[in-house]
């Protein structure tokens, strides 16, 4: 769970009565469970037990709590590893230190594992901003100096594609119950050429966050919650001359981060619009042609998405400073501050809406999957199809734990590395990381058992709305999945530059803007190596 979500939960934590209800439910559950024998019940007990560490609303967890959780979740490790089996083994783990989470948690979780197995772990902590550069340089200069790494799936192309990762043994897949992963994290994600390399610990997707006071009967627009981009395009007309009910400032519709330039991450926000028009349900590819790597970013579907944004810019539908609004500003300054009716973003907006001091929209925010479109472009037939299409943008694929090929030649070390990784990716530990500040979002179906959340003291309405939109996106049959090819953020980064030029009127049309992006992408493909990119792109899509 992200810190802000946890803070939110504490903020809306119930009243004493609700707390007692939760406690009573838990007590009832515990009492009930004591009357049954068997592993499933023991497992339920364990899950309820770890959810009480330190207890929802009882302050942020500490290292002692992480160690306790790690200790309680050691069962799966003990089933596969004998005590002291890894004595003398030293492993190096490279991960992040964002918000004093990530590696900080891993240290705590793995301390009991180290004590039990006898292995020792050395840590490389990196700030998020330094991470990508460090990883890329290690790969490019052949100086991979870590055995286990926390890594985003988009980098699988750079690592697995170059043979730098170790294949996951079968016993690990069994230990972590990989069948429990949500739909979009199932293979081919995490695999290359049919081999699995990733232990998931996180999930990511963009969802649609909207203001309830802007939509529905008696709202300022008088329109229902938009579910298609075509309806969003009509919002400015419905809001013209209206004032925001909370701030009294002029009311605006959907917020696109028109600055876009955000190290490649800004391109996801055009992707939110484009997925609905360009991600055809019968075709897993939507950014490139998988046979030629010819960009699809200038096909009519993508051009429609760019055109929609340009039309809104032309109609002065955005707040006056929108051309300098990056995604961060759009979400945390504008939307949470009471500007705009809706936006697409990752999970943090929902939780911040209720907890951030600067948020004024906490009581009026709602969630759904990203809007769809009433037509979709089919790249295979090169024609529009007039049919409703939804394609949630599964922007970024969350963090995973990977074992590098440094350990491949030493079976004992290899088993130790995978055991440590499997401990972090375990099913029960995942429930705890989803429920408490950890930096991670839910990524398993078992994490969406709302009864467990409610029993632990969470507010059902919030959990169902907020997490429900995530679950629906994760398991959507037409999710737009990240292509895990080398240099993917290079493509996104140059696209941001060209897109911004187009939006600022430096290209004559949306088509010309899209063509400029496509031309830049072609150059990158040629530079990185077209044949290999084709191979890896297909592999990443499971083709």
């Amino acid at each position: 769970m992200r810190v802000d979500l946890y803070n939110h939960v504490m903020a809306v934590q119930a009243s004493r009565r609700n707390f007692m209800k939760g406690a009573a439910a838990l007590a009832a559950g515990t009492a009930l469970s004591s009357s049954f024998m068997g592993r499933a019940v023991a497992q339920d007990n364990l899950r309820a037990q770890i959810l009480q560490i330190p207890g929802v609303g009882k302050g942020s967890p500490t290292d002692a709590d992480w160690q306790k959780v790690g200790e309680l979740c050691l069962g799966a490790t003990k089933a596969n590893v004998a005590q002291g089996e890894f004595a003398g083994v030293e492993l190096t783990f490279m991960g992040l230190n964002n918000q004093n989470l990530h590696n900080f948690l891993f240290r705590g979780f793995l301390k009991p594992w180290e004590a039990y197995t006898g292995a020792k772990i050395n840590w490389i902590d990196l700030a998020q901003a330094d991470y990508n550069a460090r990883l890329q340089q290690s790969i490019a200069t052949g100086t991979v100096d870590f055995d286990i790494t926390e890594m985003g799936a988009p980098f699988e192309g750079d690592t697995a594609g170059k043979g730098l990762l170790d294949e996951m043994p079968d016993w690990v897949a069994e230990q972590i119950d990989s069948k429990d992963l949500v739909g979009y994290l199932q293979p081919p994600v995490g695999t290359w050429n049919g081999k699995t390399y990733r232990i998931n610990i996180d999930g990511d997707t963009h969802t649609f966050a909207y203001r309830k006071d802007y939509f529905g009967d008696g709202s300022i627009s008088g329109q229902p919650v938009p579910t298609h981009w075509e309806e969003i395009a009509k919002l400015p007309a419905a809001l013209a001359g209206k004032s925001d009910p909370l701030t009294g400032a002029p009311a605006y519709g959907f917020l696109d981060p028109l600055k876009y330039q955000w190290g490649g991450f800004g391109f996801y926000f055009l992707g939110d619009r484009a997925a609905a028009y360009a991600k055809h349900p019968d075709d897993p590819a939507w950014l490139f042609d998988p046979d030629t790597m010819k960009p699809r970013v200038n096909n009519p579907g993508w051009v429609q998405a760019i055109q929609d944004v340009m039309d809104l810019v032309k109609a002065n539908a955005y707040p006056p400073d929108q051309l300098n609004a990056d995604p961060n500003t759009t979400a945390f300054s504008q939307f949470l501050g009471g500007t705009g009716a809706a936006l697409c973003w990752w999970g943090d907006v929902g939780s911040n809406a209720r907890t951030s001091d600067t948020s004024v929209v906490g009581d009026v925010v709602g969630f759904s999957i990203n809007p769809g479109a009433n037509k979709v472009y089919n790249s295979k037939t090169a024609a529009w199809e007039e049919k409703e299409n939804f394609a949630p943008n599964l922007a970024y694929l969350g963090w995973g734990i990977y074992v590098t090929s440094r350990v491949s030649g030493d079976e004992k070390k290899r088993k130790a590395a995978w055991s440590a990784a499997a401990h972090l990716g375990g099913k029960d530990i995942a429930l705890w990381t989803a429920a408490y500040p950890s930096g991670f979002q839910p990524y398993r179906n078992s994490q969406f058992n709302y009864d467990e959340w409610v029993a632990a003291g969470y507010d059902r309405a919030f959990v169902e709305d907020y997490l429900g939109s995530n679950l629906d996106s994760y398991n959507h049959p037409n999710g737009a999945i990240e292509p895990r090819i080398p240099g993917i953020f290079q493509y996104y980064s140059i696209a941001e530059d060209e897109l911004v030029k187009g939006i600022n009127g430096q290209y004559a049309s949306a088509q010309e803007t899209a063509d400029a992006i496509a031309a830049a992408w072609e150059k990158i493909t040629d530079q990185i190596g077209r044949d290999n990119q084709i191979k890896l792109y297909k592999a990443s899509l499971g083709m």
């Binding site: 550069a133 890329q136 340089q137 790969i139 490019a140 192309g157 750079d158 594609g161 170059k162 400032a249 600055k259 330039q261 955000w262 190290g263 490649g264 707040p319 006056p320 400073d321 929108q322 051309l323 300098n324 990056d326 300054s333 504008q334 501050g337 500007t339 080398p486 240099g487 953020f489 290079q490 980064s493 140059i494 530059d497 911004v500 030029k501 939006i503 600022n504 009127g505 430096q506 990158i524 530079q527 990185i528 190596g529 290999n532």
Partner: protein, 362 residues
């Protein structure tokens, strides 16, 4: 004479030892570097995984050359030891990296590429010449550099003020220096991202209060450029001001006092006496400020990322995106090297023109 006699007093054998030491150190260094290069190219299989042997060979070479100087030249050699470490350090830390960078600039090297570094001749240069993003940033740099003259005028005015007999002069001097002590990134957040924020920023609120309907500071290209310049100027003007203030304090007071006695007005005293006398300091301050200005990146990266539509991009902020976001090491290095050459030529020409002009005036 003393050196000559000292050198003639050195035994030929000792001199031979010195020469031998230098030759041995040099050979060791060259051969190690060559062997490593062949190893890196895959021609020799030495099993070396890093370049440390060459580094160690360079250190041995450095010691050998120092010891050799002493053995060969006696006291003159000892004197050379004062400069040799600095010279070798410069070679290792400035000249070699520049040459190494130059070698990268002529390669196609994208960190994501499986094939690694590939020599591609002048391709990067041709790409640069056709790259509209780069030339857009170059044009912006010309504009930013021209703003230095405005900064200079303001800094001169402030320096004159702080040089005058005003109350609490020392206090004001410290106050005016404070912006210089702030990190440009901090200024970018405090001013660019907070004070100038459209919704809640105090400057925006004030602008609305005085009647501006949509006080947005970074959406119009020229307005955005000017605000970037204002933030950069705010941080940097104190630097120019302090140089000019030092110059003003060093001016002989007798000349202005004599002019005053002769009936010269304050404007005449400034324009006919102070300003010409301050020209050497002024030119130094302007040239230094231009050099700093040519490196402008931090404020732009933080506040606008070069936007809107490249309107505020500097060459450095563009290179940053090319290098960091796109891992395009070969092309990014070529952009930087080309910019270095442009800067060297520009500053050389500027200094020549200014020194000629100065000579004519004095």
């Amino acid at each position: 004479m003393a050196i000559a006699s000292n050198q003639s007093a050195i035994a030929p054998l000792r001199r031979s030892w010195g020469r031998g030491l230098i030759i041995a150190g040099t050979l060791l260094f060259i051969l190690t570097a060559l062997a490593q290069a062949l190893n890196a190219a895959g021609i020799l299989k030495l099993g070396l995984t890093n370049w440390r042997p060459t580094l160690f060979a360079f250190l041995v070479f450095a010691v050998a050359i120092g010891a050799g100087q002493v053995l060969m030249r006696g006291q003159a050699g000892w004197r050379a030891l004062f400069i040799l470490p600095a010279g070798l350090f410069t070679v290792a830390m400035a000249i070699f990296p520049t040459l190494f960078g130059l070698s990268i600039a002529f390669t196609d090297w994208n960190l994501a590429s499986l094939t690694g570094q590939k020599f591609n001749g002048l391709d990067n240069l041709f790409q640069l010449l056709r790259d509209p993003f780069y030339w857009n940033a170059m044009v912006n740099m010309v504009i930013y550099v021209l703003f230095v003259l405005v900064e200079y005028a303001i800094a001169f005015a402030l320096a004159l003020l702080l040089n005058a007999e005003i109350r609490a002069r020392k206090f004001w001097r410290v106050v005016f220096l404070i912006p210089l002590m702030l990190s440009p990134v901090a200024v970018s957040w405090m001013v660019g991202k907070s004070m100038l924020e459209y919704r809640f920023g105090p400057v925006a609120r004030f602008a609305r209060w005085i009647g501006f309907q949509n006080p947005s500071f970074f959406t119009d290209p020229w307005v955005a450029r000017i605000w970037i310049e204002i933030m950069d100027a705010w941080v940097s003007i104190p630097f120019v001001m302090i140089l000019l203030l030092a110059g003003l304090q060093a001016l002989p007071k007798e000349i202005t006092e004599a002019a005053k006695v002769d009936g010269a007005s304050p404007w005449q005293r400034f324009w006919q006496i102070t300003f010409p006398l301050m020209l050497p300091v002024s030119l130094t301050a302007i040239v230094l400020r231009i050099i700093f200005k040519l490196k402008l990146a931090d404020i732009i990266i933080t506040v606008t990322s070069g936007g809107p539509g490249g309107a505020t991009d500097s060459v450095s902020s563009f290179i940053y995106r090319e290098y960091r976001d796109r891992s395009n090491v070969g092309y990014g290095t070529m952009l930087a090297m080309f910019y270095l050459v442009v800067i060297v030529i520009f500053i050389t020409v500027l200094l020549n023109v200014l020194s000629k002009r100065m000579r004519r005036m004095t």
